[in-house]
Symmetry: C2
Subunit: 163 residues, 2 copies
């Protein structure tokens, strides 16, 4: 959009080097932050026509992959690594879009299952087609770049206790 004639992160790293330590870590962290910002903007743009955000899309995909198309709220939060209150509002929004419905848990009376609807399955299929066509915003990277990125970030996630 803006189009600077230099890389602001690299420029910051250059000045950083004369004053503080951990240059490589600082440069990598800032890159992750900025990359996420760019990716989210791109993906949300692709998903907006489908009345989805990336978070909601992830939840729908998770339900698509679940055996009976339904999961208790707690499980969803566990898998997506988000807070219970966030799951609650996420599912509520998917519900108002008609992509998900709430059903009582067959055994646990206090729990709800979020179940994907036919309309939700349809939305996932169409959204996924658009996202893959857009290469998930990662068209600039090669297959080995993508796999290397995953491997490195997995170390980070593992270190943080994600799994």
């Amino acid at each position: 959009m803006v189009g600077l004639d230099f890389d602001p992160i690299d420029e910051a790293a250059r000045q950083w080097a004369g004053r503080w330590d951990a240059v490589a870590a600082m440069r990598a962290v800032t890159s992750v932050m900025r990359a996420q910002q760019l990716l989210r903007a791109r993906l949300d743009g692709v998903l907006r026509p489908h009345d989805l955000t990336f978070s909601r899309y992830e939840a729908l995909v998770l339900l698509t992959f679940s055996r009976r198309g339904a999961l208790p709220m707690g499980k969803i939060g566990e898998r997506l690594q988000v807070h219970a209150t966030s799951v609650s509002s996420l599912i509520r929004k998917l519900q108002t879009s008609g992509y998900v419905e709430r059903v009582q848990h067959p055994e646990d009376g206090r729990a709800f299952l979020a179940r994907i609807t036919p309309s939700g399955s349809d939305a996932v299929e169409r959204a996924t087609a658009d996202l893959t066509a857009a290469e998930f915003g990662m068209g600039a990277l090669s297959e080995s770049d993508l796999n290397g990125l995953f491997d490195v970030l997995r170390k980070l996630r593992q270190d943080a206790g994600d799994f």
Copy 2:
């Protein structure tokens, strides 16, 4: 926190592979999103005692590196790649913390300069010490991992027109 006994992203990729394309891109994108979330939580935790968030810290560092410790609002947004309104609120919060002050632009009457205060400089030094001690949350990665991460994400940023 939660501690699943498997990697949810890898598990999603496995199921994804039987149904859709672009598995590597999807896996990489999801990893970036999750990594950013983890890093932000860690860094904001380190920065909270200093009355800073990562965004505000970035702004303070930028001012620290600027020649006279002061920059017009527009320049700040350009460098940090954020909207003018975001810069406005960012600087306002730094101002209430006493880390920044607003001064009139010497030549342009409509423009303001954000200038870092001695208290702000002190906060940057102390916050940076804490962040480097925490290795910016990237202690799990080697130096070559960090540099590789930067290189790959730079391709992404360049492709998005960042610079």
